[in-house]
Symmetry: C2
Subunit: 136 residues, 2 copies
């Protein structure tokens, strides 16, 4: 059974090795935002011989192919997630590290407007909210 990411690799002409298939499968199944260490652990459950160097190389390759997205949240190592159709930003729980995704079109529009007012074409952006859970 080929994973979602595996199919994207085929489409983009990314050569599929056994290691890449395993990493693709793990990332396709992950609904969180694992860092390389965590990915390596999960990958090693399926094939314990895959090195962390290969995970680093593969994750970078996938990122350059637009298949996965890399995030450098505050004070942490890089974390990855499969690219989705929709654009979303992240809210990070400062106590637990838990990540919630959100979409807000109004903010998107304002960002574009701000950039244009300053004489720039908006190419990319980064919006992260850091908060603590409100107990009710």
């Amino acid at each position: 059974m080929s994973s979602d990411i595996e199919n994207k690799c085929l489409k983009k002409g990314v050569r599929l090795t056994d290691q890449r298939k395993v990493i693709a499968k793990i990332m396709s199944e992950s609904n969180d935002h694992p860092d390389v260490d965590e990915l390596h652990k999960r990958v090693n459950n399926l094939d314990s011989k895959i090195s962390i160097a290969t995970v680093y190389r593969t994750v970078k390759l996938f990122e350059e192919a637009g298949i996965v997205a890399k995030h450098d949240f505050k004070g942490n190592k890089a974390r990855y997630e499969q690219t989705t159709l929709d654009h979303h930003d992240h809210l990070i729980d400062i106590n637990t590290g838990e990540i919630t995704e959100f979409v807000n079109e109004d903010i998107e529009k304002l960002q574009k407007k701000v950039a244009e007012k300053l004489g720039y074409k908006l190419v990319d952006h980064r919006l992260e909210l850091y908060g603590s859970k409100i107990k009710k």
Copy 2:
């Protein structure tokens, strides 16, 4: 003549050494967002014996005292600026690296609202726009 940052140190009870005075002066005079290497170079023009370790330690100290702000823009080393009264965000020119500061109250409000809707109290945030200059 004591610098702006030097005064803040006095107010916060941060011990003032010769090295810290020099670093404070340099940062007070800087209107850009220098990284530690750049700060070290500027500082060494006034006192060539100040080590980069001291710059690292001092910049961290100032940050913890709320005197300077640290930014980790995409793909770069940490950069610093003196904290100002107003809160502002940054637009980074993807071609030149040039940084423009901006303030947008509407975006701020929306961020707070988004966090609350998700059950969080907004504690901190990060908003960076990346763009390329529009030629006219």
